[in-house]
């Protein structure tokens, strides 16, 4: 009855695979559901219009964190996007060679560096010489995480631009730099921007690199050379604190952060799929 044994094990295996797959995605609902539920409960208009209240007082918000995160992200984009784009262009366009191989390797290694180590580097590089924690330090640290992601996604997108378009540009007498910027980059612009947005959503949630660079703050600030609040930092500090009012703030802030990140992700991915469908 060998036949039966095979059939039975096939059935068991199929059932096991179904179950295990569902168990694997279960946490998505548990985590998102929990955060959405408790976060929603503590949502208020105050959340996005006020700064944190002193300990013991009710209410307060995370306005400084939202603004702070925004500032830090802008700094990191200002550094990460130009270098990342140029790096991706280089990898997509240059002839193969030793240097190209080294760059590829470096980008891969950079991608794998734990974010806490990046935080240490940000501390050594910016905080120590400046003798203070600052938004700039946070921005620089996050840019180091953003950079390899943008390089990789930019290269991927630009590689997909057909050779014929490049050659059409060359045949019209365009110098190489114009071909790259106005034909290749322009054709792939949608994909490149999507890649940048995805890297943004990834970096927006990073906490570890900010622990010893931006430090965090209770106050509202636009200053680039002083410690600054950031949403993920606030979530961290509030959740490990002993005060229930801060826990509620933490949940609400988590809700904001999570919705923001998931929204960027879903929208960007849908746009990419839509684009592929059109070109396909």
């Amino acid at each position: 009855m060998k036949m039966n044994l095979q059939k039975i094990s096939d059935r068991i295996a199929t059932a096991a695979i179904y179950i295990m797959a569902l168990v694997t995605v279960l946490p998505l609902f548990l985590v998102v559901g929990y955060i959405v539920f408790y976060g929603f409960k503590h949502l208020s208009f105050e959340l996005i219009t006020r700064n944190p209240a002193p300990v013991g007082e009710e209410g307060g918000g995370v306005l400084n964190g939202i603004v702070g995160s925004g500032i830090i992200l802008m700094i990191s984009m200002a550094i990460g996007i130009p270098i990342g784009l140029l790096g991706g262009l280089y990898l997509a366009d240059s002839p193969d060679g030793k240097w190209k191989h080294i760059i590829r390797l470096s980008v891969e290694i950079l991608q794998g560096i734990p974010s806490i180590v990046i935080g240490i580097i940000g501390y050594i590089l910016i905080v120590l010489p400046m003798h203070r924690f600052s938004a700039v330090a946070g921005g620089v640290a996050l840019s180091m995480i953003m950079l390899p992601i943008i390089v990789v996604s930019t290269e991927e997108v630009l590689r997909m631009v057909p050779v014929e378009l490049r050659e059409a540009g060359i045949a019209l007498g365009m110098p190489r730099w114009r071909v790259n910027l106005f034909v290749v980059l322009r054709t792939g612009l949608g994909g490149v921007i999507s890649g940048i947005l995805l890297s943004l959503s990834r970096v927006a949630g990073e906490t570890a690199p900010l622990l010893f660079t931006a430090l965090g703050s209770q106050f509202f600030s636009f200053k680039l050379d002083r410690p600054i609040a950031a949403l993920p930092l606030q979530i961290f500090n509030y959740s490990i604190s002993p005060y229930p009012e801060w826990h509620s703030l933490g949940f609400a802030a988590s809700f904001l952060l999570l919705i923001g990140i998931l929204a960027i992700n879903i929208i960007t991915r849908t746009v990419i799929e839509r684009m592929n469908y059109k070109n396909g």
Binding site: D96, L165, E167, A171, L172
Partner: protein
């Protein structure tokens, strides 16, 4: 008899290499002004390589090298700035490749816009209309100038690419199997167009379609395995070829 001044391009002892691989072997050829010269031969004979040498597209691929000389208007093409050379020697490719991020209007004047040359609206309007009329596309697209070129048929797209090429006023137009991806009717239209264009431009066309070469070209070059086997007036090549290999190819015994 032909005089030297009738030759706009002169290929002298040209050999081309992909790495160690010799794909063109000491080719000698003179291209006459304002005539259509066809380059024919079996697959892999080097005809695309040859035509890509004229506008120096060949050297943009890595690991390639050339020996010998190509003269354009009596000067070596290597003494020209390649980007300037390419404005005088334009190219139309096998598959139509209009720029997808620009509309039809902008595609026509892409040679200017992409090179940073701004045209006044009156100038560009005139240029778009003139060139589209020259390629017999004006009537078909004049109402949809600002739509995407992807909405056009293959034949129309190819004519758009030809318009784009002649908008920068080249002297020579290189065509690498321009009708290979098109249906017979579009092909016929483009062949008609080429006969018109040769009044103003020198045309060099690579084609694997012998009947096409016989129909439209004035001169024909037959290449095989990188060698220029025979070159002469099209009538002569197709009715009484001097070389046995030419005869075998033309009569379909191989290739």
């Amino acid at each position: 008899m032909t005089s030297e001044s009738d030759n706009i391009l002169h290929v002298k002892n040209l050999s081309a290499f992909y790495g160690e691989n010799k794909v063109l072997k000491e080719v000698d050829m003179a291209v006459k002004k304002k005539k259509i010269t066809a380059i024919i031969g079996p697959s892999g004979c080097g005809k695309t390589t040859l035509i890509r040498c004229f506008n120096r597209l060949f050297e943009t691929v890595s690991n390639t090298s050339l020996k010998g000389e190509i003269l354009y208007r009596k000067q070596s093409i290597f003494s020209y700035d390649p980007t300037l050379l390419r404005k005088e020697i334009g190219m139309v490719f096998q598959r139509p490749n209009p720029f997808p991020t620009m509309n039809i209007y902008n595609n026509v004047i892409a040679g200017y816009r992409l090179n940073g040359r701004r045209l006044r609206k009156s100038e560009s309007d005139r240029m778009v209309e003139e060139t589209l009329k020259k390629v017999a596309l004006w009537d078909e697209v004049k109402g949809v100038l600002f739509r995407s070129p992807r909405e056009l048929s293959g034949g129309q797209q190819q004519r758009l690419c030809i318009a784009r090429t002649i908008a920068v006023s080249p002297r020579v137009i290189l065509m690498d199997e321009p009708c290979a991806a098109l249906d017979p009717i579009s092909t016929a239209k483009i062949e008609e167009l080429m006969l018109e264009l040769k009044r103003d431009y020198t045309i060099i066309i690579v084609t694997h379609n012998m009947q096409q070469a016989a129909r439209i070209s004035d001169l024909t070059a037959f290449l095989m395995l990188g060698e220029l086997v025979e070159f002469g007036e099209t009538d002569q090549i197709f009715t009484s070829p001097k070389n046995k290999r030419t005869e075998e190819y033309i009569t379909g015994r191989f290739g």
